[in-house]
Amino acid sequence: MDLDMGKYAFYVWGCYGVSAVALIGLTVLSVVAHRDRAAKLKALQETLAAEKAQKVDA
């Protein structure tokens, strides 16, 4: 492993840094959005099921 980039440190680490931020950011956004939507859908489905159950009881 050679982690000393010498005089090019700014450019090399800049590239890897920007790429890491962008790709990790995209991943986090995608996964969080996915979780949110799954939770929202589940909540709605549960309310509907509860309503239905109530109707059957009544």
């Binding site: 982690l3 005089k7 090019y8 450019y11 590239c15 929202k40």
Partner: protein, 258 residues
């Protein structure tokens, strides 16, 4: 006299053209695959990044050669994603698959990020190598236009409220873009030869030494897997939100009254 025809119950079975085109089934099949895909992506990234810094310096470019390992895959993925979007849009438009629309929409932001990374890392590579942040050569200009396509595509999708219409309009845009990209690339290359004196890049780009091939290949593979994984997550997001909207529409329909 009333006609004897009344609309029947509107319960509809989704049309099955191909097995996986059913969004429900698509979700079910790929949900268990996604964690493995995520793990494989992570492993490949660790391995690839190790190779990036374990490989020797280039005798000409020195340490900046390590930029290539993330720049070139990003550029490839920018193009590849557009191809994926174009093909998805084609299926969405011709066969009216809702899943294909979702697939095209889900791919766009990923492609935009890859393309932006290609531009930024290219610029950061160009400065130490050629002494300039930006060179108006054919390749960079074309990638910039590609990036603008992604922006336009996403802006168009966001600006049309009706989901079906948005899908259709953006699919048409993606297809026109697919046909036009080679023409734009050609025109930019033609323009570049016209003004060749200004260009500092070699037309064929740097040749890759074998020792540098491995890190490049592994990183490219990691980028591909990352794309596929993110794509699947985002498609599933789309399916979930459509299902949610469908349920909402059904409730408002039921409670709407006359």
């Amino acid at each position: 006299m009333a006609l004897a025809a009344y609309p029947r119950n509107a319960y509809e079975k989704p049309m099955i053209i191909s097995w996986l085109a059913n969004p429900e089934r698509f979700s079910k099949v790929f949900a268990p695959v996604r964690p493995y895909l995520a793990a494989a992506t992570a492993i490949l990234f660790v391995w690839g990044l190790y190779l990036c810094f374990a490989s020797p310096e280039d005798y000409q470019q020195g340490d900046t050669v390590r930029i290539m390992y993330i720049h070139v895959p990003a550029a490839w993925m920018g193009l590849f994603t557009y191809l994926v979007m174009g093909v998805s849009s084609f299926f969405g438009l011709i066969f009216r698959h809702a899943l294909a629309d979702a697939a095209a929409k889900a791919a766009a932001p990923i492609g935009a990020v890859f393309t932006a990374l290609a531009l930024v890392t290219g610029s950061l590579w160009g400065k130490p190598m050629w002494g300039t942040w930006w060179e108006w050569d054919g390749r960079m200009t074309s990638v910039l236009v590609l990036f603008l396509f992604y922006i336009g595509y996403m802006a168009l999708h966001a600006s049309i409220e009706d989901e079906m219409r948005a899908a259709k309009s953006t699919a048409i845009l993606a297809l026109i873009g697919l046909v036009n990209l080679p023409i734009i690339k050609f025109s930019v290359d033609w323009w570049n030869t016209l003004h060749q004196g200004a260009s500092v890049f070699r037309a064929d780009g740097p040749t890759v030494a074998p020792a540098m091939l491995w890190p490049l290949l592994i990183m490219a593979l990691a980028y591909h897997l990352l794309f596929i994984w993110l794509w699947l997550v985002r498609i599933d997001s789309e399916i979930l939100s459509r299902k949610y909207n469908g349920l909402r529409a059904r409730i408002s329909f039921r409670e709407g009254g006359a």
